[in-house]
Amino acid sequence: MNLLHVLGIFYRNVILIRRSVPKLFALFGFITVELFLWGFITLWVQTIGPNDARLDFILLILSAFIFWSMFELSQRSFSVSFLEEVWSRNVINIFASPIKLGELVMGFALVGVVQTLLAFVYITPIAFLLYTLNIWDMGLYIIPFFMNVLISGWGIGVVAIGLVVRFGPSADILAFFIPFLLLPFSAVYYPVSVFPSVLQDITFILPTRHIFEGMRTAITEGLIPYDSIIWATTLNIVFVVLGFLFLHWMLRLARNRGYLSRLVQD
């Protein structure tokens, strides 16, 4: 692993984000607007919901919203780091340089970590000021959950890049669509028990389901959700490894069929 290669990818993206108002808005603006939306919904649900001391709607819904946003951001910043090279027709220069695939992925992951941490540090005090949400009320469990949403984002991000390599720049929409596809099946805002039993079995393989189910258990039961943390972590590792192998396979296919040149032509 050559850290200069990783630094090159990281440096390129830092400049890009720092300089671009639309990118800064994508980082901080969307989440702020959505916080208002989910905050108002939560306040309303609290007035009509059951008077159950265990049900802290603010903590339940808004912490789920924040963590889902972190997952989306981790995935989006990872995928967009690659898409940016495609959109700027620079991708050939990257693949013709001595950077290894692992270093490229590491660079994108680092960009994702920094962006996600920045957004987290930004949004949690605002959520506290507006809705008295103290995300640390969940305890230190938020650390493994946070790590897991980051890794889930990388897993999806790697697959999204593989799809763009295979199907060309017009497949970039998939990078934004995949998290949206996962949202209803990840039990972010409701428990897994609302799913039909078949769906409960199928969604078991989603790391995000275990993250959000575990967070809910911690909030409503006050229990340490070891099972959820272990399942989420294990599945995340499996998904990231499979995602990396998928990207490796797509790149080999692209080199065999000449698709890499198409990335700067479409």
């Binding site: 290669h5 090159g8 890009l16 620079n90 001595p98 040149s261 032509q265």
Partner: protein, 246 residues
Amino acid sequence: MSTIVSVSNLTKQYGSLTAVDHVSFEIREGEIVSLLGPNGAGKTTIIQMLLTLVSPSSGDIQIFGKALKEHREELLSMMNFTAPYSVLPYNLTTREALKVYSLLYGIRNYRERVSFLIDEFDLGWLANKKVGQLSSGEQMRIGIAKAFVNSPGLLLLDEPTASLDPAIARELRAKILKLVRKAGGAILWTSHNMREIEQVSDRIIFLSRGKIVADDSPDNLKNYFGEEDLEEIFISINREPLSKSS
């Protein structure tokens, strides 16, 4: 002189189309070899196979005595390229783009290297301008500077002066030759500018429909084909592929 590139029986097929057909050639240290041929002759495909952007269907590529397939990263760190279809990031300044590529090529003293390239290629007035705001000729100039971030032992130039005016093209050609000779490297050059090719090449490889149809020095080729200039040879080969390999 040691062999820098050794290509043997290189073939690339896309389904029923044979883009490159059993091509073999060598490039020696200090040599400037040009690939010439009509559109679709296989020049860019060969360059892209040397850059590992395209995998060969069969054949072997050795660079600096090592198999490209097995030593990809090591060999790419000793090579570089520029091509009009691959521009540098439009949203970075010239200085930033050169810094990014210095890092990607593992250059530890990247600050000094970037300053050197900015001076060497007279990019001072473009250093803090975004690449996307520059003309295509200026972008090409920066692309050529980028090709020298790692002082490459092998330089692949795919139509490097395509967007440049004649005066700047001449100046950059001289700079490219100076830097490559200083490093004791070699160049594989493609262009449709026959005068340029004649001026810079030690050897010319003519390609037609993926095959090598001639491989010799510019003077020997002119004698063999009985033509006064390369353009006439190009046209005759394009019309009716002949075969002449030294």
